[in-house]
């Protein structure tokens, strides 16, 4: 740029044929070069953060999502067996050849150092598909060194599952490096004997219902924050700035207060011996045995999360309402509209961008919420995040946790995309 500015312009008198800088380079090229240099400079400024986030944030999430389809256990543990199983039609117990390969695989596995042995993960993996599979593997593998041909009898004597064609079909199906079975399980489906995907028995369906409940709770919470947030945002928007700012602090204080503190506050209020129940008992409204269970159920989650997310609704609503000129309402009224009609036809439609922004924001946040449901939700107030955490930390079924997480993530990204279309990410307001 500086170069171009310093350059002498050729042909000042309307002669636009060719402009050159002082050192004779065409102006156009010189400008392009300067432009490219600034583009690179801008990119260089962004690069450190971009690289940091790619490594510390995006790569780990990609890696986690990969786990939902990654299926190395059977392939690693039983290479010979899988080879021998090729061409097996799946109807009867496999031939002696397959069992010999199985014995060879297990023997080789036992030669490895303890930490590298693959039969443990194999048992766990097969157990996700067929309960008792872990037992079959664990009980058999120790005895394999003593097995003698015919191996088929030796294995089936050791555990009945080895004589079950259904077990062998699972081994064959999961003997591929990629699997869909975590997603099948995450959608409350399973493989039947023919390998078709069918719905699980009624009493074993968990996740679809949990996704639905998460959606329902999030929608309910979004609606409640709207119902509570709209009046106060409107009230603040008609007050003079000075008073409105004072009330704004009342909204921002909870916003800035630690999440754990706010959750604790609700535990103090809602529990059986908590403030609300004590007050109701003491003023005689309910008996000592008639205390409400407001916590460790759905109500706990809804009340506490509505309180926690209310500022996220009020802030965008307020910033939109501030910009609506009060004269529009007055004009509607002077033209003969009743207050209700004026509000419904003139004011409300103008607040829609704020409502949309606040609602999507609250919905996105609540759909992935973990802490508050875990602390005050009990059984009926659990959300999908709690189930992901449970599979991460307790059942250690990481593939299923990854599948549930990926479904949640895709849902949130779609919502965020909608939010972006609605308001634009640049308009995110922070307090």
């Amino acid at each position: 740029m500086a170069q171009a500015d310093a350059g002498a312009l050729d042909g000042r008198d309307g002669n636009v044929t060719r402009m050159v800088t002082a050192d004779g380079i065409p102006l156009k090229r010189s400008l392009q070069r300067a432009e490219r240099r600034r583009k690179i400079a801008a990119l260089l400024l962004v690069t450190p953060l971009l690289a940091f986030l790619l490594i510390v944030f995006l790569f780990p999430i990609g890696q986690m999502m990969w786990r939902s389809v990654d299926n190395p256990q059977v392939v690693n543990a039983l290479p010979r067996t899988l080879n021998a199983l090729e061409g097996w039609d799946g109807s009867e117990v496999p031939s002696e050849e397959v069992f010999a390969a199985l014995a060879a695989d297990f023997r080789e596995d036992l030669q490895r150092p303890r930490a590298d042995q693959t039969w443990g993960p194999l048992g766990v993996r097969l157990n996700y598909e067929l309960s008792a599979a872990r037992g079959a593997v664990a009980r058999t593998v120790r005895n394999v060194p003593d097995f003698e041909p015919p191996y088929r009898e030796a294995f089936t004597d050791s555990h009945r599952l080895w004589g079950d064609p259904a077990f062998w079909r699972v081994i064959q199906r999961e003997g591929r490096p990629l699997t869909a079975s975590y997603y099948v399980a995450a959608l409350d489906r399973e493989y039947d004997d023919e390998g078709n995907i069918v719905r699980r028995d009624e009493n074993r369906r968990i996740y679809v219902g949990l996704f639905m409940r998460t959606l329902a709770l999030s929608l309910g919470i979004t609606f409640l924050t709207f119902a509570l947030g709209f009046p106060i945002a409107y009230y603040m928007s008609i007050l003079p700035m000075r008073h409105a700012n004072l009330l704004m602090i009342c909204v921002l204080l909870p916003f800035w207060t630690s999440l754990l503190v706010r959750t604790t506050a609700w535990i103090v209020l809602l529990q059986q011996q908590g403030v609300i129940n004590e007050v109701l008992v003491n003023i005689g409204l309910i008996g000592d045995d008639g205390r409400f269970s407001l916590m460790y159920n759905m109500y706990g989650t809804i009340i506490a999360m509505t309180h926690i997310l209310l500022p996220f609704m009020v802030l965008p609503l307020y910033s939109v309402m501030r910009t609506i000129p009060p004269s529009y309402l007055r004009a509607a009224k002077s033209l003969g509209a009743t207050p209700t009609t004026a509000f419904r036809r003139v004011y409300f439609p103008q607040t829609l961008p704020g409502i949309g922004a606040g609602a999507v924001l609250v919905f996105i946040i609540s759909i992935g919420y973990y802490i508050t449901p875990a602390l005050v939700g009990g059984q009926s107030g659990r959300m999908i995040s709690n189930e992901i955490a449970r599979h991460m930390q307790q059942s250690l079924n990481w593939g299923l946790a990854a599948a549930l997480g990926s479904i949640l993530l895709v849902g949130v990204l779609i919502l965020y995309w909608a939010y972006n279309r609605l308001v634009g990410a640049d308009n995110l307001k922070l307090g």
């Binding site: 940091f52 780990p60 009046p231 700035m241 204080l253 207060t257 754990l260 604790t264 802490i371 922070l430």
Partner: protein, 283 residues
């Protein structure tokens, strides 16, 4: 906004009932937070007001939960950890975020939408998913249960706030100022520290505050990535609530509320200052 003298009775009823409704909603917002403060001075290990407290008898009040807090090794360690992790993460997030915002606000920036999307993604992705991803990744590179791991994770979570606040400050930035500085012979570095930095400082500081509060308040990542040694205040409160619920938590909560009031005031003052600098009327 006073009620006009020509208002109909119905309008009068609506006028007052609307104010009562709003008052109740504000009560709903504030009461839970306020109510913990007196309860933290409870002399009894209960989460409710005792008869002595209601009658304002001094015997009903005590500082024992504060004594508990300050004499407990695990609480003191968690306070220290929260500040170590918070300050380190804030420093990293502010540096990286400010640089990126400077780049993003240049008009020549290519792929602006895509890059902005990536940079603010830590704010969008549900925490449980970030935590799960980082749990696996940090375990595989030996960063799990280390301070560095938690700091890096919190840095990632804090950067979107810095990027957003600093970019917002740069929107009103007058680029002819830096050109003037360059014209007068200042090097780019000098221009940055003498001209750009003082002008965007309010945005940088409020971004840093957001990054700090994000780290200070964060628990999901800590639950998955941190070990016993790296327990922060929220993590300690989490086990306090789940295992042995005692009013010590209320003492901690009261202190945290006071801290958030201080932070809130700072951010509000900074916002006004920033608007004044940019020549807008103070809000």
């Amino acid at each position: 906004m006073a009620i006009p003298s020509y208002a109909t009775p119905a309008e009068r009823v609506w006028y007052y009932s609307f104010r009562v409704i709003c008052g109740l909603i504000f009560f709903f917002l504030l009461a839970p937070i306020i109510i913990m403060i007196p309860l933290s001075f409870n002399a009894q290990p209960y989460f409710t007001f005792t008869r002595e407290m209601v009658t304002l008898n001094p015997e009903g009040y005590s500082l024992r939960w504060y004594e508990d807090l300050f004499s407990s090794d695990s609480w003191m360690r968690s306070i220290r950890n929260s500040f170590i992790i918070g300050i380190a993460a804030t420093f990293l997030a502010t540096t990286l975020g400010t640089l990126a915002a400077l780049g993003l606000s240049r008009s020549q920036m290519p792929f602006k939408g895509l890059i902005m999307g990536i940079l603010i993604s830590p704010m969008i992705v549900p925490l449980i998913i970030s935590a799960a991803g980082m749990f696996f990744f940090f375990s595989s590179v030996n960063l799990a249960q280390t301070y560095l791991g938690v700091i890096l994770a919190h840095t990632a979570l804090g950067t979107p706030f810095v990027v957003i606040t600093v970019t917002a400050t740069l929107v009103g930035f007058d680029h002819s100022l830096t050109r003037a500085a360059a014209n007068l012979g200042a090097s780019p570095t000098r221009t940055f520290f003498k001209i750009t930095m003082p002008l965007i400082l309010p945005g940088v500081i409020s971004g840093a505050l957001f990054a700090f509060i994000t780290s200070f308040d964060e628990i999901v990542i800590v639950l998955f990535v941190a070990g016993v040694e790296q327990r922060t205040i929220p993590r300690e409160m989490w086990s306090g609530i789940r295992e042995s619920i005692s009013p010590t938590i209320l003492a901690v909560a009261t202190i945290l509320v006071l801290i958030s009031i201080a932070l809130l005031t700072t951010v509000e003052l900074l916002r006004r200052r920033s608007e004044r600098i940019r020549g807008m009327s103070p809000g």
